[in-house]
């Protein structure tokens, strides 16, 4: 197990270096043009969002619909710091992420007493509250959007942030803390009676999830240079949740692949102009249907780079 963990991490490390090298060579030789660079950056940001949401929704099993809210906290905080305080990009990114984490903590403590549908609704409400606040504050420039954010985000930053996110979530999930989190999803009472502090781990997973949503928000703000409150509405939260659901709850590889697929497909469909969202919806429905049959899993399995171990199946 220990060796396997090591080798799995090692494989992932090698793979990420290879991908990074390919991306760097691609951009240097302008094989990847600036348009596709943009798509790749968006892919990276979406991977961060999907992987971090998976910790709360997939592993912890608490269906939340407020991920875009945390993203916007990170985006606005880091953008305002960049504009007014002129701090280094990394510092403003980190402050944005921490701010989102703190909001996650503050929201999480009361909200995580609720379950299921109620939690969904209340996180949705939180998302709306954040949006309305951003819409009405002077400093965020309201609905006109915050402009003049320095364009600091590039492929390197996004790639590194993405690797860190995946590594952190993976490490948590594979540790005793991760087992505690998953056991809460499986059976809260049994988990508590096994000595797990259910309340603590719920808030912990929720806050970590929020931190990385904030990080993604910061990267997003410093790439587009303009952020609007309506960019972080309910639809955005659902979009992220769809990635997690499509990739499989509690499946990191799945989240990564689903985030890439769901980012790239709309770009590929761009030539269909107004039919684009229609086709996107059809692809989504097809993917969901395929997922249930196991065909989707087979395809994912083939796409994924680490082979799943064969399970010992008792009769």
């Amino acid at each position: 197990m220990k060796k396997l963990l090591k080798s799995e991490l090692f494989k992932a490390f090698i793979l990420s270096i290879v991908i990074f090298a390919v991306l760097m060579i691609g951009t240097a030789t302008s094989f990847i043009n600036s348009y596709w660079q943009g798509v790749l950056i968006l892919c990276g940001i979406n991977i961060i969002l999907a992987v971090s949401l998976n910790l709360a929704a997939g592993y912890l099993g608490q269906l939340t619909l407020g991920h875009a809210g945390f993203m916007s906290v990170g985006a606005y905080t880091s953008a305002l710091i960049s504009i007014y305080l002129n701090l280094p990009f990394i510092v403003s990114l980190l402050i944005g992420a921490v701010a989102a984490g703190i909001i996650g903590l503050v929201i999480g403590i009361p909200v995580l007493r609720l379950k299921g549908d109620y939690l969904c609704i209340i996180t949705l409400a939180f998302n709306e509250i954040i949006r309305v606040i951003m819409n009405n504050l002077e400093i965020t420039n309201g609905a006109k959007g915050l402009i003049g954010i320095p364009m600091n985000t590039n492929l390197v930053y996004v790639f590194i942030a993405m690797i860190i996110t995946i590594f952190v979530v993976y490490s948590i999930v594979k540790s005793r803390h991760g087992r505690a989190i998953i056991s809460i999803r499986e059976d809260e009472t049994a988990s508590e009676l096994s000595g797990i502090d259910v309340g603590y781990y719920k808030v912990f997973a929720f806050a970590v999830s929020a931190i990385f949503a904030g990080l993604a928000g910061g990267l997003y703000a410093h790439y587009y240079t303009v952020i609007l409150p309506k960019g972080f509405d309910f639809n955005k939260s659902v979009e992220i949740l769809v990635m997690v659901v499509l990739g499989g709850m509690g499946n990191l590889k799945g989240s990564i692949i689903a985030a890439i697929v769901l980012t790239v497909i709309p770009e590929l469909l761009i030539s269909f102009s107004q039919y684009r969202m229609l086709l996107y919806a059809i692809v989504l429905i097809a993917a969901m249907i395929l997922k249930g049959t196991g065909k989707g899993e087979q395809i994912m399995e083939r796409l994924s780079f680490f082979k799943k171990k064969d399970e010992v199946k008792p009769e």
Binding site: M1, K2, F167, V168, S171, I172, K174, S175, R176, H177, G178, R179, A180, I182, S183, R185, E186, D187, T189, A190, S191, E192, L193, S194, G195, I196, D197, F204, G250, K309, E311, V312, K313, P314, E315
Partner: protein, 258 residues
């Protein structure tokens, strides 16, 4: 044997107007095998829920190792040394068999999130120790070959055993088993009896057993309490219980013709 491991004094809980458990007095000594029997709805599982802090008693108190358990809190109770299994198996179904046990080992092998992120020696040591302990626990129940399969894929009897293994992982002094033989065939029940005996010897743990299977209870328990309508009807050795006319009338009488 001076202070009993667990003692209840006038323990009771009321749901609205219904006294589910009332004036429940009993004690278990270290390493004792204790049976709790009674007709359906007698309040047996409610007693378990009171002992593990799932319910708060409305009257009386629970003494564990002579110390009263104040303001019942499940985690504190688990850490103090009471573990349980459930009538309807409650495993972490999607987790592997060994991870189920490792959840039980969670608090005895602490390391921080930062240890996990940076794979520090502390993390590696704790994980290695957990792996070893979990495997040796699984070995006791002959489950080691299924260590990596999902808990939900285990056959029924093995799921029961895994639940006991998980409970033992919290290093309890008292193990509460809620109908461990429910849904088992006679062969599986016989095997379970052996397992329970082994568990008590190997882990030197007291066991409180709720069971409908009279053969199992009479066969292995040293003391038995009979519960009826939330109160203790009789208390004694299997022999005494078998010959108690009240018990026969309330409970065993209906069983025997089957």
């Amino acid at each position: 044997m001076s202070t009993p491991l667990l003692k209840t004094e006038g323990l009771g809980i009321q749901f609205g107007g219904l006294k589910a458990v009332d004036e429940f007095n009993f004690e278990i000594n270290k390493n004792q095998l204790f049976g709790l029997i009674g007709p359906n709805g007698a309040g047996k599982t409610t007693v378990f829920n009171l002992l593990t802090g799932v319910y708060q008693p409305t009257s009386g108190r629970i003494l564990f190792e002579g110390q009263p358990i104040k303001k019942a809190n499940t985690i504190k109770i688990t850490k103090a040394g009471i573990a349980r299994t459930f009538q309807n198996i409650r495993l972490f179904k999607e987790m592997s068999v060994i991870d189920n046990v490792k959840v039980g080992l969670h608090y005895s092998h602490p390391y921080t999130v930062f240890d996990a992120l940076f794979h520090t020696p502390k993390y590696k040591k704790a994980e290695a120790a957990m792996q070893e302990e979990a495997l040796s626990l699984l070995r006791v129940f002959h489950l080691e070959e299924f260590a990596e399969s999902k808990a939900k894929n285990l056959p029924y009897g093995k799921q029961r055993k895994l639940e006991i293994a998980r409970a033992l992982a919290t290093a309890p002094k008292l193990l509460l088993l809620d109908e461990p033989a429910a849904g088992m065939n006679p062969a599986e029940t016989a095997e379970l009896m052996e397992t329970i005996k082994i568990v008590r010897e190997k882990f030197s743990v007291a066991i409180l057993l709720i069971e409908h299977d009279m053969k199992l209870v009479m066969g292995i328990c040293e003391k038995i309490a009979v519960l009826n309508f939330g109160t203790v009807l009789a208390f004694g050795t299997p022999e005494e219980i078998r010959n108690n006319p009240d018990v026969v009338a309330a409970y065993l009488g209906n069983e025997e013709e089957g």
